[in-house]
Amino acid sequence: MIPAAFDYVRAGSAEEAISLIGEYGEDAKFIAGGHSLLPLMKLRLAQPTVLVDIGRISDLSYIRDAGDHIAIGAMTRHMDVETSPVLAEHAPLLAHAASHVGDPQVRHRGTIGGSIAHSDSASDLPATTLAMGATYVAQGPGGTREIAAADFFQGFLQTALAPDELLTEIRVPKMGGAGWSFQKFNRRAQDWAIVGVAAWRRNGESGVGLVNMGSTPILATSVSAALSSGASIAEAAELAAAEADPQNDLNASPEYRVHLAKVLVRRALEQASA
């Protein structure tokens, strides 16, 4: 399979990338590692007329301790997230979730920013960073703005990013020793999750993100609210799908996905509480 023809330009900086995307208009797309976009282009489900390659912008590849949070450049590859000592210490849930993305070859190319901007609800990192209460930084022609993860995912493959905005940084709060768990249920090692759960828990606080339980990644707020009000893990897990709207596909019916979500949320909370 070969993508439809397109023009290709390589940006040397975020500013140049934003300027180029503005110049070429709405049929242009940013490409980072290309591991979400190229498969769609090969199937001709996406046919951008211009690709603006942001994958060489090394200024956007970093993992930094920024006091109360860890700042991750959007062009940081999954492999670098997975193996980061800074994240292992302060945000192990994210590093662990990154180790479950695709397979090593995919993790050598795919980036955290690309995955989040593509915002496939079946991807691991959108739901994980949502559960962690992340903030995303978007840069546009007029400057930068911060977008809370809870406000970012707006529909199937749709985000709060404007067409001429570039996701430049992901900020995840330090976990401060919180317990955590990442559960991914699939049939083969490298597959997308049929359902996945990212969860953390510390004292009365918690965050639970669901993978592939709707058109967007889902924040299971009812589970956290129940836990805060003193519900048991088993009771809270029964509310796992309260915010979800799971789809039917070859792998699972909506009813089965709801069942899986309850089981996996219970397991995740038990592990995060251990």
């Binding site: 399979m1 070969i2 439809a4 591991h35 190229l38 090593p104 995919v106 090692a189």
Partner: protein, 152 residues
């Protein structure tokens, strides 16, 4: 678009369409057909090669993305007519049946050992999760990778 890619140590200047996939570039432009196309959907790993020293699936990389980079294919592993230790280990452990997945397996396995020189059996199985063998000959493949690691 004009690109320069160093493949197996030799620089190649080529004029390619931006939509040319890296796997098509190495197979059809450079004639290096050791890299196989399997699923063509970044699932099976048959097209794995090294881009700047790391295994990638070349069906999901554009040739223009490899501009200025170093590529190693299965043809580039042997040195001076001497097989790479991983190739020897595959041969000695009977780690192939039909052989179609083998170039990708060998490239993924050498990349794995670069990152983790002393893997456990589980590390090897996890590290090769992106490579499918339709003969299901995984057992000997894992043994070969462990043998290659032990022989270093």
């Amino acid at each position: 678009m004009q690109i320069r890619v160093t493949v197996n140590g030799t620089a190649h200047d080529s004029d390619v369409e931006p939509r040319t996939l890296l796997v098509h570039y190495v197979r059809e432009v450079l004639g290096l057909t050791g890299t196989n196309i399997g699923c063509d959907t970044s699932s099976c790993g048959a097209c794995s090669l090294h881009l700047n020293g790391e295994a990638v699936k070349s069906c999901t990389v554009l040739a223009v993305q490899a501009d200025g980079c170093e590529v190693t294919t299965i043809e580039g592993l042997a040195q001076n007519g001497e097989m790479h230790p991983m190739q020897k280990a595959f041969m000695e452990n009977h780690a192939l049946q039909c052989g179609y997945c083998t170039p990708g397996m060998v490239m993924a396995a050498t990349s794995l050992l670069n990152e983790n020189p002393n893997p456990t059996e589980e590390d090897v199985r996890l590290g090769l999760e992106g490579n499918l063998c339709r003969c299901t000959g995984y057992h000997n493949i894992v043994q070969a990778v462990l043998a290659a690691a032990g022989g270093r």
